[in-house]
Symmetry: D2
Subunit: 405 residues, 4 copies
């Protein structure tokens, strides 16, 4: 027992191979699609890249070994996913993108043996993609999950689901669904929610439209989905009835952190581009990179990256020890999402006119990052949760007789 | 002589009529084009909107009265241009957008009577659009104007111009050109630059491509332009030879401020949208607009808008008194550009998932605003200029015997 | 009617004379006391400085002319008070400090003729100092004025006051009191409050202790005061019974702005000191003032000062037009208080080790400024008020049929 | 090899005992002295507290075991020093304050056996205190060490030192000196510097005055010291001649991190006080701690503390692996120093009037922290160093053929 921040030689090697694959194989393809990256190139390209990643021995680093993955824990995923995140096509190529990666994670923990066969195996192997249908349009579940309105009603042999979902990532073309629906209480109360599994072609699931957003790189888009009398048999209930909120936490902590990893890759890439630019470009009698105001931006990027990485390391360590790491995942997510936006903004500023043009990918990458301060819990909701716990802790201390004032 | 911050009833009325025209006529059209706003709809639409604006008595508020404008000074332009800026199509509709408005301003001050007839009159009336060709690709003139490389060589009866220009707003379809070229010294020295006029169809001017950028609403784009042996006769030299840098200042101060006005309109619109949203949307047991963290964002927007407006008022007042207002225009531009980015960012955050989607125009508007921290002098260059003057002032005081340390 | 930001030659001259008086007469005295500036040197020094200021024709620029002042309106006070604020002893010297200046302002508007004779005249002339007793220790009136607990009970011929007050500026040695007490309702409700006048030696008023704070320059300190059966006859009720909250607003708007003026003087002084330092001090192969990171701090100070000044100008203009300028005074106060803290912080950073030492006054001046983000309404309360009004405005618009979303 | 962020049970226990000792023994004494904490109570109190710490088994956790310390490496020092830092008297009490702790660290690495006997042993045991004399008044060595002017001239049997030093922490009453003097080159060049040892009563060392600063808790003050023909025999040269700059780095990295640890203790204490306050205090219809704007400050404190801690952990880990950790120590120091200032500032704001008063220690603690953004290298110098390395790295990559633009 002692502080150790090293990665095993295997993980270091995997990280380097991942980065090389991204630079050599994936980035050239991303650049081809840059003008129109909606859907990250589509499923044909995805399957092709998956095959190459499999051949390179870097496919699905998080998935269970028995299902063709590399079985990395959260700590070890961190440098590998970050390397993959350098291209917005990287997560799709290595099959470690949202929501699939989080769904694999959760199904590994909660699904029954039969559910694993039917849903997890093809998902982990990349034969299908998946969707996680929780968020709803106002006044339904968004930043506030208690507002959940999609409901599941008991019927013979199973449940019947009705409702509208929005911002469902990867919905278009999804081969399987995890659907969160209310099985207890009223919207606004916590009550009870349940997770339901469904095949991609389940009757009653209609993908109505893409909600176009700042970010464009998610295969299958962020979609609006209507559920009309979707029948889910009892064997497709994931885990226990009414325990959906708890399972969502099992999924959300790690999923948040893998988001941070991937998006840190984007921030690192932006920083590398800007450094390359200012180290070469002349202006005001020297290289831009030797001017104090540019140096300040460079240094702030270095600091923001180091802090994001250090907080991520802490959160992953805690997640590997226990499922309960709400504080450290909230902190890493909130800090990281804000830091990455700052970083790209500085990169753009350092590159001047070129920075706001499509001649560099910076503006596009910044647009990929912006929503991350909202997705997976807006910064404000994480801050609210952090403060509630801290103030609650103080109250308990005071009740226990500890006084600071 | 006493502080007065009021506008005349005429200007107040014009402002209201402008805002009404934007809301009733222009915004519906912008919304139609929202999916593809490149070039602000094109010149046919521009001419149609111009006619409607003329009919409404709000066309070209800045242009000389004798040329069909309303002859407003800088102070009075401020509320009117801001109202027009609420739509990204507004400046085109009222013919008060960049670079035309700045070019009209400069030509009114510097052009000969004959040049006014030939270039200013059709431009002021909206018969043609114009381009101002100063910026160049690296290593040419950008943030650092002394790097100017396009050169003009004396030939019989005039000058021959060669060079490459980049980020030339409105170039595609421009009916006239103002071209800045070096007539003295070498790139990197100040030397001397001269402004040359040319008709839209001048031989040797080639608009090569659009440089696609974050912002999309500029009619005629931001283009890359090659000048190959462009002949400019002596009568089309604007003002004096070698005085181009000085004239650029005449143009830039006011042009910067009208930029601030127009983009403040975008910021105000974003704020109105976000206020509308949070005043209605429920969450966490009440309206979002009653939550403390949202209130903080709302208040910070109010503060940023008020400060931007107050600094703009100061700079316009100084410009109306004298051409020399470098400090106050640098401050208003730098503060405003940064404040507007902050404001839109908060608006997006307040609107959550909707904020990053195209279901609201916020993400698009934020993208329109981002480049403004770079265009017309990056924030860093303005800060450098402000600091140089302040430190120089301190040196002089010390030499004069005033000591503070 | 047109924007005018000029001051009359008289005001310009008065500003210059004030600044000269501060530099020549007041700053040398402040420096003497620097090690121990509690109470700004005491009342003997105050009277001496007042006499000199009177002789110089710059005494009490805000007080009515008939009472020996210069009768300036809010707009004209602005540059003069700022000049006086360059020394922390300046406001006392010119008798324009808090709370006297605000009390003179309020009594001029509200007091009866007899009250003016008895209280306003000696106060305006500097024969006595005053205290304004509103704030209370928790759980009483602080940021939330509705928590007012000091109560006034009707007795024969007047009222009997009981309560505890805290942070009462100038209490030690005050020659007159304005006391806010509840005459209606319960703590926590708004109810009604009334303002009572009392002579300095009124029975039952006990100044218990100085509450030592970051800032040290207030003559008479910030004190804790107990009121025990203080009898106030009917003729010493200021204005109407139960109208105290409304009168407090009459006082607070202007008093906030004169605070901003005075504290802007401190910020300007800090900036001048730092500029002097960096324009001379060598380091890293040149003058510090030519390094980019220093230039950024210099420029940010210039921007912050300009924005504070512009917002102050706006608020003063509105106050001169009407008593109702809650938004603009909240904005100017909040922005100014935060900007001034940032400015002094940058000044300290620019001066390095010297900046945090008493060899320069910067650390002391920063400590004078810090509380201003709390005094006269914490930034959070102003932001809350700004947001409430903005969101309320949006609600009304929506009810009136205007929709932005 | 795998990420591990746990501390051994021994270190956890030591941390808890340290915190208990601070709370039970040291804080009550600090509070007694609060009104006048210059010199942390003096050497008699120091010896008394040292004895108690020794009895409690928590004395000098960093010192070699053979010299009475606990021999902790950098990683393990981190939680212990932070616990000690909760009181500004804590570092003196446990003998782990600056500059002694850093001097013990450096002497352990560099001193000869004889020098260890003579200087290190009594210092490690707390029999004496020490001073590290490097910084000089302008135009000498400050943020820029190359400006070193104190010179050492070769004389028979040793060296003769002359110069002026400033901000020499602990100088008043120091029992031994480490003096940095130029032995090669001219001020402004790097040249060569050498470290010299001297007893507390060495002839020619004159402690002239305390430079009073924002911070007050350093025993022995920050002093100005004149060196006049100070003779140092050859056996008191520390390490090699001309290698002083290199040794300074050996000292500075760890010393910077222990500074971060101690000052993090102050930040944690401030946060605990503010949490206690807002969890109890009523206002605006509830507890302050349940208001959104307060929650935002609480959460930002939690985030800033977590990030500072995570960066410190990284830097300490690297220092334990190797002496070369310039980037990570610069980042941890810069981020931490700025974060701690932000934290205390928020604490003060949360506590309102009480926050700026001496009724709480927050204002005093904030003043202790402010200089840390300047001491041990101003933030600007660390940013400059970080940027130089990052830009240099980019240049090398480009030369090696890696291109990002």
């Amino acid at each position: 027992m002692a502080v150790d921040l090293s990665y095993s030689p295997e993980v270091q090697d995997l990280t380097q191979r991942t980065r090389a694959f991204i630079d050599d194989v994936v980035l050239p393809i991303e650049n081809e699609y840059a003008g129109d990256i909606v859907a990250a190139g589509g499923d044909d390209l995805r399957r092709e890249l998956n095959a190459q990643a499999r051949a390179a021995g870097i496919f699905a680093p998080h998935a269970p070994v028995e299902l063709g993955g590399l079985g990395l824990n959260m700590s070890d995923r961190s440098p590998v996913f970050t390397a993959a995140g350098h291209s917005t096509f990287g997560p799709v190529a290595l099959h470690l993108g949202a929501p699939d990666e989080g769904n694999v994670h959760m199904l590994s923990h909660i699904a029954s043996a039969e559910q694993k066969d039917r849903y997890l195996t093809p998902l982990a192997k990349g034969e299908i993609r998946s969707a996680f249908a929780m968020t709803e349009p106002a006044p339904g579940a968004g930043a506030d999950p208690n507002a959940l309105r999609t409901n599941a009603v008991r019927v013979a042999g199973g449940w019947k689901l009705n409702g509208v979902k929005r911002f469902i990532t990867g919905a278009d073309g999804a081969g399987m669904w995890i659907i969160m629906a209310r099985t207890h209480g009223e919207p606004g109360d916590r009550g009870g929610a349940t997770m339901f599994l469904a095949p991609g072609d389940a009757a009653g699931i209609s993908v109505d439209r893409y909600v176009h957003t700042y970010d464009r790189a998610m295969i299958g888009g962020h979609c609006e989905v209507t559920l009309t009398d979707v029948f889910v048999p009892d064997e497709d209930v994931l885990g226990e009835v009414d325990e959906g909120y708890r399972y969502a936490q099992v999924r959300l902590g790690p999923a948040r952190m893998t988001h941070v990893m991937r998006w840190m890759g984007i921030a690192e890439r932006g920083h590398e581009i800007a450094l390359d630019y200012v180290s070469e470009r002349e202006g005001f009698g020297g290289k831009l990179g030797d001017l104090g105001m540019i140096q300040q931006m460079v240094a702030d990027n270095e600091i923001d990256l180091a802090a994001s990485r250090a907080l991520l390391t802490r959160a992953c360590y805690e997640l590997d020890q226990s499922e309960h790491a709400s504080n450290s995942t909230s902190i890493a997510k909130t800090f990281g999402a804000e830091a990455f936006s700052r970083i790209l903004d500085r990169c753009i500023q350092m590159c001047g006119g070129l920075g706001v043009s499509e001649d560099l990918p910076l503006a596009r990458l910044a647009n990929e990052l912006r929503p991350f301060r909202i997705y997976d819990g807006p910064s404000e909701v994480h801050r609210w949760a952090l403060a509630k716990r801290a103030v609650g802790r103080a109250r308990k201390q005071r009740e226990a007789g500890v006084k600071h004032v």
